[in-house]
Subunit: 245 residues, 6 copies
Amino acid sequence: MKPTLKSRPETASLLAFGAHPDDIEFGCGGVIAVETRAGRAAHFVICSRGEAATHGTRAQRTSEARRSAALLGATVEFLELDGDAHLERRVAHAIKLAGALRRLRPGIVLAPTPGENQHPDHSRLGQLVRDAARLARYGGVRELRANAPHAIGTLLFYAVTPEAEPAIETPMLIDISAPEIVAAWTAAMEVHVSQTRARDYVELQLTRARLYGLRAGVGHAMALFPNDPVVFDSLAHVCRGARGF
Amino acid sequence: MKPTLKSRPETASLLAFGAHPDDIEFGCGGVIAVETRAGRAAHFVICSRGEAATHGTRAQRTSEARRSAALLGATVEFLELDGDAHLERRVAHAIKLAGALRRLRPGIVLAPTPGENQHPDHSRLGQLVRDAARLARYGGVRELRANAPHAIGTLLFYAVTPEAEPAIETPMLIDISAPEIVAAWTAAMEVHVSQTRARDYVELQLTRARLYGLRAGVGHAMALFPNDPVVFDSLAHVCRGARGF
Amino acid sequence: MKPTLKSRPETASLLAFGAHPDDIEFGCGGVIAVETRAGRAAHFVICSRGEAATHGTRAQRTSEARRSAALLGATVEFLELDGDAHLERRVAHAIKLAGALRRLRPGIVLAPTPGENQHPDHSRLGQLVRDAARLARYGGVRELRANAPHAIGTLLFYAVTPEAEPAIETPMLIDISAPEIVAAWTAAMEVHVSQTRARDYVELQLTRARLYGLRAGVGHAMALFPNDPVVFDSLAHVCRGARGF
Amino acid sequence: MKPTLKSRPETASLLAFGAHPDDIEFGCGGVIAVETRAGRAAHFVICSRGEAATHGTRAQRTSEARRSAALLGATVEFLELDGDAHLERRVAHAIKLAGALRRLRPGIVLAPTPGENQHPDHSRLGQLVRDAARLARYGGVRELRANAPHAIGTLLFYAVTPEAEPAIETPMLIDISAPEIVAAWTAAMEVHVSQTRARDYVELQLTRARLYGLRAGVGHAMALFPNDPVVFDSLAHVCRGARGF
Amino acid sequence: MKPTLKSRPETASLLAFGAHPDDIEFGCGGVIAVETRAGRAAHFVICSRGEAATHGTRAQRTSEARRSAALLGATVEFLELDGDAHLERRVAHAIKLAGALRRLRPGIVLAPTPGENQHPDHSRLGQLVRDAARLARYGGVRELRANAPHAIGTLLFYAVTPEAEPAIETPMLIDISAPEIVAAWTAAMEVHVSQTRARDYVELQLTRARLYGLRAGVGHAMALFPNDPVVFDSLAHVCRGARGF
Amino acid sequence: MKPTLKSRPETASLLAFGAHPDDIEFGCGGVIAVETRAGRAAHFVICSRGEAATHGTRAQRTSEARRSAALLGATVEFLELDGDAHLERRVAHAIKLAGALRRLRPGIVLAPTPGENQHPDHSRLGQLVRDAARLARYGGVRELRANAPHAIGTLLFYAVTPEAEPAIETPMLIDISAPEIVAAWTAAMEVHVSQTRARDYVELQLTRARLYGLRAGVGHAMALFPNDPVVFDSLAHVCRGARGF
């Protein structure tokens, strides 16, 4: 039913959605670095130019996003919805995102967590991507006929800030402690000069990843939250529990 | 810090604890079959002879347990605590179980879910094993000095019945649909004739595994509930989400 | 305050809302069969023709819905909102549904669960029906003046798929194990040939109902999730707990 | 399997457990009054004399309990465990309580909620009764051989204080608003003079029941929390939702 | 970063949002009375005229709101969104509310709880105010340029009805038991004659506040639910736990 | 009823319970430093000598605890229960702790969080202290007659490790960012050389406090979890929400 992924999960491509030009880097940049260094193709779809932020112009932020994606080994495109700080939860947006899923046909999809107590664009994009992942596989949606239906392999949420982490669900931790990974991730965050000059975003994310790392007994780790139970072929790859203390 | 597991997770051994002679088979027998067929060593520690059940003598149930473990490719031992239907949550028990962990030095530990609305022996054994996994790695516990401290790789809970599944936590699903796996698991359950004659236990478990399988788009699947976040090296092995419908 | 229901609950009529032509059958068809066989009037309001599905035309699916409702002893009507896979959460829709509630004046209302991790039409219809149940009893909503306000007796949610069941809330189980009930329900599901040919929907639902049945010590059972606490006159009708294992 | 209850639920007897001489009255006295006035036999098992309270002697409190039970139409017995404020969670206690269940063979069992943030005796008695309800039906528990196994029909928890209500679970509300019911309940609470002289217990409980009543659109109501999903034969008796505001 | 509040929290002004002319009074009127009597400036923003209610005209309800606010020592304004029973969750509304936040520059913001199982206008206004509190501090939102960005000090939710209280979160209780506070609050509720004539709203709220008061060992108390963790300089002001029973 | 605290909360004394010689410092040392520097008396009751740890003798650890408490401005005593890694949940222990509460008569009590997925001594001590806080105010507990009953003002839980933080409850954050506070806290942790030499405990706690600080817009902050709703006289001291990002 999902032949590609079941047969060759290691070559399935990764698609990350971000509401603003820096969300993917801040929320899961270390994981992107791990995957691209392992040879997985990664692509970013960014849904605004960050034009409602206190600092940075559209042009600056677009440029920062492009340079940052390159540092992480990812390609990038912009897909306009309602503009920064104006995102609404419309079916038309979910269909547009489903169109991107059909066109790009990723195995792994990353999106911001859908919980509502955070920047409203973040939660809504997470909700829209989740809806889109379903619409992409329904054969009869008329607006989507240009591309064949596509069933993604998995939808994983990243939290742009600590507040955006779901309270109840157990995260999966991805070990990002290889020095070159932490360095690439840090560099990718620091490219967003327009934002990091005003607020301690880089320290926030490194502190968060270090805390997860300390818990897991590694250097740094990032948390992802699966939208659905994950299916494993065996226990071979689930035998490291985070229980450092 | 956990060198064995990190370097060779696929050969780490598996240790399953059961409160009664049939709990492991009913709650995670399919997973055991997957692992032993993949070459992993599996051992069962059973903490009573099931002597408080409505049906079956101590001797019958002991014999059923031995034959069933053999069908699943596992070795088995009995470790008496307070007896069937009499298990209490004593530190002395946790220390005894920690002693078993130090002696057997497993990478993966399976135990019944610790939630309380189920057979009281089940929840208490889950709680005791969780405590034991900590005590096993503290160097100064005087009763444990006979063996070197041991840090397990991961603690995963299995639910003996549907009611025992934690309501909130997202399970990991293990695909057990290979026909020889389902057959071995079914055979192992059916060995417990003293129990299955009176109640539909086998149908209950097969129905439960089939429902998970239908959700995950496979034949049968079993749910496990990790006690701690699981740490992954990359996304290579977490890219199959259960999203069949 | 709710005189009709309090005085004659057994004759209060039942109204079930579905987002697609087969949702009611798959999610609570066995309960419908129980109620109509006991003499309760049942009516379905279906809010799309299922035209976005991979299989089946509008005409086919409409016809399947009509035949299926008849097999369950229910009448049926279609109420168009935004179309299949396009449903949005608009106040205008809630008002339209409230208008239906005022016109049909049911005692018991069934709707899909409002939790968001499922087909987006399902959750939104559940949310809209919940809003509609409130609007139906406010006297001053100008669009609703054609009919007198109406307070329903109870709003119960059904889950179209296992994923759509609320994680935390305790369900009410309805015993549907009489052979003629299971047969009528199965037949009603099988009428939806356009859908069941491609996916194991019938097996999914029967497996789910059998698992609840095994837990409750009966043949088959279906779960409903009340939107509000249920008020009972005494304990006379709440004395069968599901505690089979 | 549970033939008595299924065939004649209205005559099944009720057994309420209390940790102290006034807990049943304060936590579910109105429900007892409803049931006994409807002809159901009710019996109280009280597990201490309340001797650790700030006010009241053993003799006074015993006498208050007897008079109060009589006002509610219930019989009463005392079953000593560890004494007031000394209750521990021992298997021997669960077995003793299971023995009472086998001897008394109730259909409906009421016990205090098992959540831990309340008087420790309350939560532990709730936990012990839950365990006892399982042990009572296992055929092989040697200490229980004097009486045949017994499967109760349902286990419902009452909350002695508002803090003891489970946060997440949806309660069932029992309408106790008939004037003679409220009067009988109030009288039964007021018999506990040794306690009510020092604290506003009666006002606390009446206020709580009035708040539930206002929510449900009736005079007064009391909340019960089922330990397991409740099984219904149809929707005939679940069609009054509490949705007053 | 939040200099005003940190330096002089006691003089920061309070802004309460209500969806209908009586929501603030019913949901947190006692708290308003406490604050204005202590010298804090309070202002109400009411987002409809309550024109969809069963009773009361726009003019009546507007007049009731003005008189009630005066009794509580607050000023009041009306800000129209979609009209009573028609409120949708649009970004344009959040921006309009953010504009009010920038214009009024409050330290403390009160809004209805955002949970969805209640009057749909209540939950949506709570959600919109939460979004508005973020938008108000982003410098680049073009529609908001007329006023400088503003970061509020805290966002606290009030529950208009008991059902609207979040199930899981621990409330903060505000002691409103001074007789003049209860009197002022009661008077403010009773001004809404158009509503209170038909339903027991005043009794409902007084009963709710009395129950919280009994729990906390005071006369009456009201619950508020903070949207974010509250930051304290020390434990000096958090040392009264509600543990009356 | 709680006159002392209500009248002079700022001078109520603080009592912190720890299961091991370093738990208080690691879990809430910064808060202790804040309070003692503000003039509040603080006392530690430590319930083992940490003799089961991998490193450190009883004598070393006792000495470390004494020096550390002194650095935080607190007095300290040892109260033996079952010994390190052997703590059980016995009523006799709760009574012993209640005796300490009656003798020391604190206003504010700090204890480890009672959630079970952590070092078993930690959770059990939290549970025992919670029980003790109730027993301390019951007048009739015979073992406690040497001292008059005492009602504490509030019970706040601290988490020794991140895993021990309750998933659902909203914490209160205490701002500990004054440089002399962070310095005193760090020094107090570093005194526990026997432990910190082997594991990154100090970095773990500083990272955790820095992450809370970044969220709250301050330097460092520590989280506490109240056992009961906190009662406030007004909003004057709850107007700083943690919403930095």
